[in-house]
């Protein structure tokens, strides 16, 4: 199961690239600072150039780095010690290996495209907000790079939280709308729940081996007890659940669509949400050691995939469909991780980044054209108005549906194949989900682009193709969606699994494909066939006559997302709120404050009682004196007993 990771290739001075590594995150940070601080004085075009330029620069460096890693393997670059207490030393260090360099490319590459797209998409904003937007985006890229490049869990956590922050800021970008703010807050808080799991896992690791560096942790992994390994991996997985929107922490992602569409494309489809996958892939050595966690990951992933897919079928908001589709695809990736197909999962991250970014940007283009109308029941027949968008969107749909030879097919197939190896039920559900995916994607496609236009006249007059700054990224991404799969053509189809080969130093060697080629062909055939059938049904059903009427019964449950939000509200949010109210009004006021005030009241009360002794009558006073004399004499006689009694207790 386990093969020792090749750690020894830390090559010093082999290349001047090492000195440039820090530039990758630094450039976006500079972009953030410049755009953030000078947003009022810079013109929009300057802002856009700076914003996109820094990402492009990072991308170029990443590309150079990628090739270097391909040749010379992994490097760890230490900068300074973040924390150094006793034996606990947490360096600020970057680890550049195959896995991270791949992610670097995805992040900076797609990031760059989306920056370019945004330059046009956000053009209506005022200067100030425009600058703010790019600043946030740059900050996001910076955090994401930190997350990926970090050489230990703490640096990863820095990035991990940083992307959460940016996600919060960007979802709530239009802060005048309180619904958006709620969505932003929800996203952040749900992420935080996961973060707690992550943190606890980190503590656990520190407790066991006193360091958090990947290399040390993985080297020591075999010495962990099974409880430790299970605990750590499950807690890490909780972190991943939050970030990558898995059951039960997925509800924030669809709401996160409140942000500007390019943000959805970048953060909530292509990069941030895959942080969980990256993290688990990064920790694959730990996961491979825990059977239980692996099953858990697979089951949660699969359940999320299926669950989200069912919801997506009945959504009418174009971005919501894509959001649930994202959740569903992320579930797929976790299935891959759970069944040990780490490369498959990473591969799917990559292809998914291409086509989901494409789909979102396409949707953005549609929304842009429709003047911020997102309900697809009011669209239709956009094919002729938005030709480029239409074509690229179609490419995206095909890719996500897993139709060969588009990229989605290859990555999905790899996961499904691995799932089949592990458990054929996994595979069955996976295929069913794939069919659902194909169905709702083409429902989306058909409703939006086919049939007749159903919007207002005003909208109809202004329908137009988006500017080039928006279409170029679409085209590039469409191209990538088409060819992306060829990076890792499985052997059964005559390829070399080149991605697999490339990543193998960073990831544990996976299950050897035991199945015969014939079985694999059959599996592919079945999944493709089902997908194609689903597509045909969807196009037939929705191109002419989309559902405009009210839904009933089960459909309504689906449309309302299985009422999960309401459920959470009722079993978690409200009880906690009530508990807070109970604490605030009862315990705090009546209980604790009441106790303190009670002491004061007691003093006051006894003062009122004691003063009654002071009745102003000489006879009374003397009576007290006489009584006191009697008592004193009595006490004085019995001093022995009283004193011994006291000494017993004091």
């Amino acid at each position: 199961m386990l093969s020792v990771v090749n750690l020894s290739f830390i090559i010093h001075n082999s290349s001047n690239m090492n000195q440039l590594v820090y530039l990758i995150p630094l450039l976006p940070l500079i972009g953030f600072l410049v755009n953030g601080l000078l947003r009022k004085s810079l013109s929009k075009s300057v802002i856009a150039v700076i914003g996109s330029g820094v990402i492009l620069a990072s991308f170029i460096i990443s590309l150079l780095l990628f090739f270097q890693v391909k040749n010379s393997g992994e490097q760890i670059i230490n900068y300074f010690n973040l924390i150094s207490i006793d034996k606990l030393v947490i360096p600020f260090a970057f680890q550049i290996d195959q896995l991270s360099s791949l992610f670097l490319l995805i992040i900076t590459g797609i990031g760059f495209l989306i920056h370019v797209y945004s330059a046009a998409y956000m053009h209506e904003e005022t200067n100030e907000h425009y600058g703010r937007y790019f600043a946030y985006l740059n900050l996001f890229v910076f955090s994401m790079l930190l997350l990926v490049m970090g050489a230990n869990y703490v640096i990863m956590f820095f990035g991990w939280e940083g992307v959460g922050l940016c996600s919060y800021l960007l979802i709530g970008f239009w802060f005048k709308n309180n619904n958006y703010n709620y969505a932003a807050k929800k996203a952040f808080i749900m992420n935080r729940i996961g973060d707690l799991g992550f943190l606890l896992a980190v503590f656990w690791i520190i407790a066991k081996i006193g360091t958090v560096n990947y290399t040390d942790v993985f080297a020591a992994a075999s010495s962990f007890s099974s409880t430790d390994i299970t605990g750590i991996t499950i807690l890490l997985f909780v972190g991943a659940m939050g970030k990558s929107a898995q059951i039960p922490l997925y509800t924030w992602l669809p709401d996160a669509m409140a942000g500007p569409t390019p943000v959805s494309a970048l953060i909530h489809a292509a990069t941030m949400v895959t942080a969980g996958i990256y993290m688990i892939a990064r920790s694959n050595i730990l996961y491979s050691l825990s059977e239980i966690t692996q099953h858990l990951v697979a089951i949660v992933g699969l359940a999320t995939a299926l669950f989200a897919a069912t919801i997506a079928i009945k959504q009418n908001d174009i971005k919501k469909v894509l959001a649930y589709s994202t959740v569903s695809q992320l579930g797929y990736m976790f299935l891959g991780l759970g069944v040990g197909a780490y490369t498959g999962a990473v591969f799917h991250v990559m292809t998914h980044a291409f086509f989901k970014a494409l789909l979102f940007l396409g949707a953005g283009s549609v929304i842009h054209a429709m003047h911020h109308e997102q309900d697809m029941r009011k669209m239709g027949g956009l094919k002729k108005y938005l030709p480029i968008t239409h074509i690229t969107f179609l490419v995206g749909c095909i890719a996500i549906s897993g139709i060969p030879p588009f990229s989605g097919f290859f990555s999905k197939d790899e996961i499904l194949a691995a799932a089949y190896e592990k458990n054929s039920i996994y595979w069955g559900i996976g295929v069913a989900t794939a069919a659902l995916t194909a169905f709702y994607m083409f429902r989306l496609y058909a409703t939006t682009f086919l049939g007749n236009f159903r919007g207002t006249n005003n909208q109809a007059q202004h329908l137009h193709e988006s500017p080039t700054a928006m279409t170029i990224p679409l085209i590039v991404l469409a191209a990538l969606s088409i060819i992306g799969g060829f990076f890792n053509v499985p052997e059964v189809l005559g390829g070399h699994s080149s991605l697999h080969q490339f990543l193998s130093p960073a990831l544990t060697s996976e299950i050897v494909h035991k199945s015969a080629h014939s079985t694999e062909y059959m599996l592919m055939g079945i999944s493709v066939a089902i997908a194609v059938i689903a597509i045909i049904i969807a196009i037939n059903k929705f191109s002419k006559k989309p559902e405009l009427q009210e839904t009933h019964g089960f459909a309504k449950v689906l449309e309302n997302k299985w009422y999960v939000d309401e459920l959470y509200d009722n079993i978690i949010v409200k009880p906690l709120n009530n508990l807070g109210g109970f604490f605030k009004n009862i315990i705090e006021r009546k209980g604790i404050d009441g106790m303190v005030n009670g002491v004061g009241k007691l003093v006051n009360y006894s003062a009122r009682q004691l003063r009654l002794l002071q009745n102003g009558l000489v006879g009374g006073y003397i009576l007290f004196m006489v009584l006191a004399i009697i008592v004193l004499i009595y006490v004085w006689i019995n001093d022995n007993h009283i004193l011994s009694f006291f000494y017993k207790y004091f």
């Binding site: 003062a607 000489v618 006073y621 004196m625 006191a628 006490v635 004085w636 001093d639 004091f650």
Partner: protein
């Protein structure tokens, strides 16, 4: 001896001076001059410059502790007269007589600091209190003053009766009135014969003296008398007279503590707690600042009893420090009080605005009474608590109880501060002379200086 003789003499001079001088201001000046003479003669004896020696046949004993105490109370009286002289002179038509009575009372106090015989104790107590009966009742048209005078007189006489019964029993037990009597009796004898008379006598004397220093449950006279008496005399009673009572107490009981240690371990803590309880808790309820101060004086008696309970170094130094700290602050607050037109808390509302100096100094006095650090009152309390813990760590519980009551005391002292500083209103006062303010500032400064460096005072004691 100088202090006793001169204080009696200046009383006589004052009395006779009253015949000649009718002008209040002159009487006041005469009183101040006489007090300076008294202080000078006492210091002369203190530094062995000039001493009228009289053979007392063991009735009085010259001792450093008492001498030092005399210095303190004479200085305090001087300060008191300087501050409140005009009020005394105004109290009635007999300014000179009042001064004479005060000086006679002071004479009693000086006797109490050096008596060596129960007869002198008895005489000292009487000489000290009889003028006070008169002073308390001195506002003849004021029913409150009458009532206070009568109550004080009846209860004071009652306690004298108890004292005498105690002395009689003591005499029965020892055959002597000297306070050293009975010390050094060998332990066997004590065990063989059950000796009742001496301890019983001491218990009665204790009760009587507890009455004088207003320790609970013999404190009932205190609030009524302090409240009813003219404020200016209350100030004298609450400070000089009360502390003299403590000195008398300590003189007697520090010698006796060996014999009676066993029972005192219960009785004194019991009395201390009752006193703290009665003083602090009842003070909380009061609406009049004057009456509150009366209860607060009971509460302070509770703390001063610590010195009696633990007559070690800390206790003895502490009681001196306490005397000074408590008296300075009390004289100060009473001086301010006498200037107020309304003695209730509301009467103080907004004093900080109209009379900032009065308010500020009064705040320092109150802080000192509450035992807040940086004021003399803190070290006074500190020494008392330390004396208890030095004696035995078993006393920890008593110390904790005491500090809890000290915390309660903050409640009523700070009500005055609140009224002065934080409440709106225009506190009305009678006319205030600049000299009065200067004196208040000096007292406040003294309190702070002692609060920072108590050794300045205590080193004198050991020098």
């Amino acid at each position: 001896m100088n202090a006793i003789i001169f204080s009696a003499l200046i009383g006589v001079v004052m009395m006779l001076g009253g015949i000649v001088i009718k002008n209040n201001a002159s009487i006041q000046s005469l009183a101040i001059i006489l007090l300076f003479i008294l202080l000078g003669s006492h210091l002369a004896e203190y530094y062995n410059l000039f001493n009228i020696h009289i053979e007392t046949h063991g009735m009085l004993a010259k001792n450093r502790f008492g001498m030092f105490f005399n210095t303190i109370i004479i200085s305090l009286t001087l300060l008191y007269v300087l501050l409140s002289g005009d009020e005394i002179a105004k109290a009635g038509t007999y300014g000179a007589e009042y001064f004479a009575l005060l000086f006679f009372s002071l004479c009693g106090a000086t006797i109490l600091s050096s008596y060596n015989n129960l007869l002198m104790l008895f005489l000292g107590v009487e000489i000290m209190t009889i003028p006070l009966f008169v002073l308390t009742a001195s506002e003849k048209k004021n029913l409150k003053s009458n009532e206070a005078g009568l109550k004080y007189f009846l209860m004071g006489s009652f306690s004298t009766g108890i004292l005498l019964m105690g002395i009689a029993l003591y005499y029965g037990g020892t055959g002597l009135f000297a306070i050293e009597a009975g010390i050094g009796k060998n332990a066997n004898e004590i065990q063989q014969t059950l000796r009742i008379l001496l301890p019983l006598g001491l218990l009665f004397i204790f009760i009587s003296l507890a009455f004088k220093v207003s320790a609970a449950p013999f404190h009932f006279w205190t609030p009524d008398v302090y409240d009813g008496a003219p404020s200016v005399f209350t100030s004298f009673m609450a400070t000089i007279v009360k502390t003299a009572g403590f000195i008398a107490f300590i003189r007697l009981f520090e010698l006796r503590s060996v014999d009676m240690s066993y029972s005192w371990k219960i009785l004194l803590p019991l009395i201390i707690i009752l006193t703290l309880l009665a003083g602090n808790i009842t003070a909380v309820f009061q609406q009049s600042v004057k009456r509150m101060l009366a209860y607060s004086s009971i509460a302070h008696a509770g703390f001063m009893l610590f010195a009696l309970y633990n007559p070690n170094d800390f206790g003895k130094q502490g009681i001196l420090l306490y005397t000074v700290a408590y008296s300075l602050a009390t004289i100060g607050t009473f001086a301010v009080l006498t200037k107020m037109k309304d003695y209730t808390y509301e009467g103080y509302n907004g004093l900080a605005k109209s009379k900032p100096v009065l308010a500020a100094t009064n705040t320092i006095f109150l802080l000192s009474l509450a035992g807040i650090p940086l004021t003399a009152g803190f070290f006074a309390k500190y020494y008392m608590l330390a004396s208890a813990l030095k004696e035995s760590t078993r006393n920890l519980w008593l110390v904790i109880v005491a500090v809890l009551f000290a915390a309660v005391s903050v409640y009523y002292y700070f009500r005055v501060i609140q009224a002065m500083y934080f409440k709106e209103g225009n506190a009305e006062t009678t006319e205030i002379k600049p000299f009065f303010k200067v004196l208040l500032i000096i007292i406040a400064a003294l309190i702070i200086v002692i609060g920072l460096m108590p050794s300045l005072l205590l080193d004198l004691f050991y020098a």
